[in-house]
Amino acid sequence: MTTLADPHTESFRPSMLLNDTRYRSLTFQFIALVAIIAAMAFIGGNLVRNLTEAGLNISYDFLGAQAGYDINQRPISYDSQDTHGRAAMVGLLNTLIVAFLACVTATIIGVLAGVLRLSPNWLVRKIMSFYVEIFRNVPVLIWILIIFSIMINAAPAPRDFRGDDPSASMWLFDTIAVTNRGVYLPKPVWGSGSLLVVGVFIASIIGIFMYRRYARKQLYDHGRLVPTFWPSVALFFVPVILAQLVMGSPISLEYPELKGFNFRGGVTILGSLIALWFALAIYTGAFIAENVRAGILAVSAGQTEAAAALGLRPGRIMNLVVLPQALRVIIPPLISQYLNITKNSSLAIAVGYMDLTGTLGGITLLQTGRAIESVLLLMLFYLIISLSISFIMNIYNNTMKLQER
């Protein structure tokens, strides 16, 4: 006969921590955690003790002290009278500028190269393989140095533009100067009434989007294909040019001119920025090309064949059928490549571009001797930038990934 007794409530004994599989893993995790904390505390305590013995204290007061050095690319106003803190900010912005430019360019290069690597054309395919292999397998620092030294030796120096018979001349009706110090472009000068022209420009951009929506609606509702390309181009240029002429040219251009040692006026894009930007973009582009190729190959060939059977042209098959599906595979590794670009941009000092590592981690560190503080701050900045990029790209990834219902 069976009797139903109350389930035996087992009293907890300390030995169960080791003998009972339910608790054992927790015990070991706890011991490991304590050991890690103790090790960290020992290392940290050791550091603090050694620093006190050496008479060094951790202090961030130097950020408020006068920096005393100049920086060649200043997105915000800065001179040698400003503080180390502001110099670090200038460096941070310079890092963000080159990282952003390189991410955009690398993506364009990478997608093109990745798609072309799968081209049916033998020559195109081989050229792209060559590009990917040569750039992926040589360290990025070397590419930065190669591109920079080619640039400073191949492009003319500003002094070559001088004289009656100069050995170099400016491009595009004397508006653009390409020198080994950088590229000088015309700069818009905003006269009175230029606000209206800008307003018209923004309105025409909105107009282009509205027109495209209308065109799509026509296509979906009535099956009519309304041309979009040329009307868009017209909408983009015509109203602005009209407004500019009607208002009596309020927006004029300031052209770079050779004065003294350098070109003055206009917008300067430093040679070091161009070299770093180009090197990072073309190097990382090779990795992105491989990601894109992998993504495209992950889409089953049946999709392409089905799309072709429906009568889509190859370009449309790629844009409408294959790439949207491939993106799901491409985006996660793309995030790592963006992070790599940001981190690799710290090699900027090799070409004299003053990024965060060059200002805070370079000159500020050396002039103040505050190595630990500067490096900790540097780590914090890069961590924040990287986490922000991951955060934004993860949001994008979530919108692109397969929505499961």
């Binding site: 050496a54 008479g55 005393g68 050095y69 100049d70 920086i71 060649n72 001179d79 040698s80 009278q81 030294s149 400073i152 030796n153 120096a157 500003p158 002094r159 070559d160 080994n180 110090r181 004065k259 003294g260 040692f261 350098n262 003055r264 040679g271 070091s272 000092i349 090799a350 004299g352 003053m354 060059g358 370079g362 000159i363 050396l366 002039q367 001797g369 190595a371």
Partner: protein, 338 residues
């Protein structure tokens, strides 16, 4: 029980470590080699020759100290350092002595906790430009692009000079002298600025040195001095008086040629004290009595070292100028040996 063993071990380790960092002299003797920090290569000051042997004006200081302490001028391990790494290398104990065109400043002496042992070269920051630019004065450099080595006092002086004269410039920061030269020759910068001695030294290696001129302005005081860590005064004394012995030797007319003869004993008591035939100056430093004789014996006195490495007869061709003995109107002056 185990815990106390562990703690005891820690304490012993701590005492050993603490004691070792205090007596650099014993450490160097035990190692049998002096670890000396030098530049990554500035002709005349510190550069390996075709056989890979380090030669130069700063190198001579390293060798003299090694000879005084270890009895062998070749018992030196040369550690090339950049403007960035030099102070960390010295502070961490990787090197015992830094002889690398380092400007003696208050903040380096006091805040970074180093001990400068005396000036071995009085320098100043100068400018070099291509002759074809036709610039005669640094004040004409408004708007010029300037190549500078980062992490040095140079860039601070530069900012001050241009601000004081109300003119502008575009800085191009560069990590090493070699890269700066590369950009300067390619015309990526109009001006190259660093210590005048280094400009002269680097120009000597150009394909066409005569196409470049040094501008007359010297915009800063750069007393270049070897240095050691703060806190080990005995070691600092040895390094300081080794340098002084080279300088005093020139003043007293002790050269590598007559060293042996003079060390037999002379009428001049100061020479006798310097070379150890009289008094016990060596013992006060914790060395033997021949220490200065050995230091001078490596490459001769200060003047001989100067002439051999960077003097007027070398490609670098620097005049003595401020670096002449005080008796010849210069600033080089050793305190008395007594």
């Amino acid at each position: 029980m185990k815990k106390s063993v562990f703690l005891g071990a820690l304490t012993v380790a701590g005492i050993v470590a603490g004691g070792a960092s205090a007596a650099t002299l014993d450490e160097v003797k035990a190692r049998g080699k002096l670890n000396c920090g030098v530049t990554t290569g500035v002709p005349g000051f510190a550069e390996p020759d075709a056989q890979g042997v380090w030669q130069g004006f700063d190198v001579a200081v390293c060798r003299a100290v090694a000879a005084a302490v270890l009895g062998d001028g070749n018992a030196v391990e040369f550690v090339p350092t950049t403007g960035k790494t030099r102070f960390t290398a010295l502070a961490s104990g990787e090197i015992d002595l830094l002889a690398r065109n380092t400007t003696w400043t208050l903040s380096r002496d006091v805040d970074l906790k180093f001990e400068f042992i005396g000036v071995n070269y009085y320098d100043g920051q100068g400018f070099m430009v291509p002759k074809e630019l036709g610039v005669a004065s640094a004040k004409d450099l408004d708007g010029a692009t300037v190549c500078i080595q980062t992490g040095t006092t140079t860039e601070l002086n530069l900012a001050d000079f241009f601000r004081a004269n109300g003119i502008t410039y575009e800085p191009v920061p560069i990590e090493t002298g070699a890269e700066a030269v590369q950009q300067f020759i390619a015309g990526a910068c109009d001006v190259y600025t660093t210590d005048a001695s280094a400009l002269a030294a680097q120009r000597a290696n150009f394909e066409d040195p005569s196409a470049y001129v040094l501008l007359p302005e010297i915009i800063s005081k750069e007393p270049l001095a070897p240095l050691v860590r703060h806190g080990d005064n005995e070691w600092a004394d040895i390094a300081r008086w080794t340098l002084n012995s080279l300088i005093a030797a020139e003043e007293l007319g002790v050269t590598s040629v007559n060293l042996e003869e003079l060390s037999a004993g002379t009428e001049n008591p100061e020479i006798n004290r310097l070379l150890g035939t009289e008094g016990d100056l060596g013992a006060m430093l914790g060395l033997d009595k021949d220490w200065a004789k050995r230091a001078i014996g490596v490459a001769g006195n200060y003047g001989e070292i100067f002439e051999k490495n960077i003097g007027a007869s070398t490609p670098i061709g620097l005049a003595r100028g401020l670096n002449a003995q005080w008796t010849d109107g210069g600033l080089i002056y050793a305190p008395p040996f007594r």
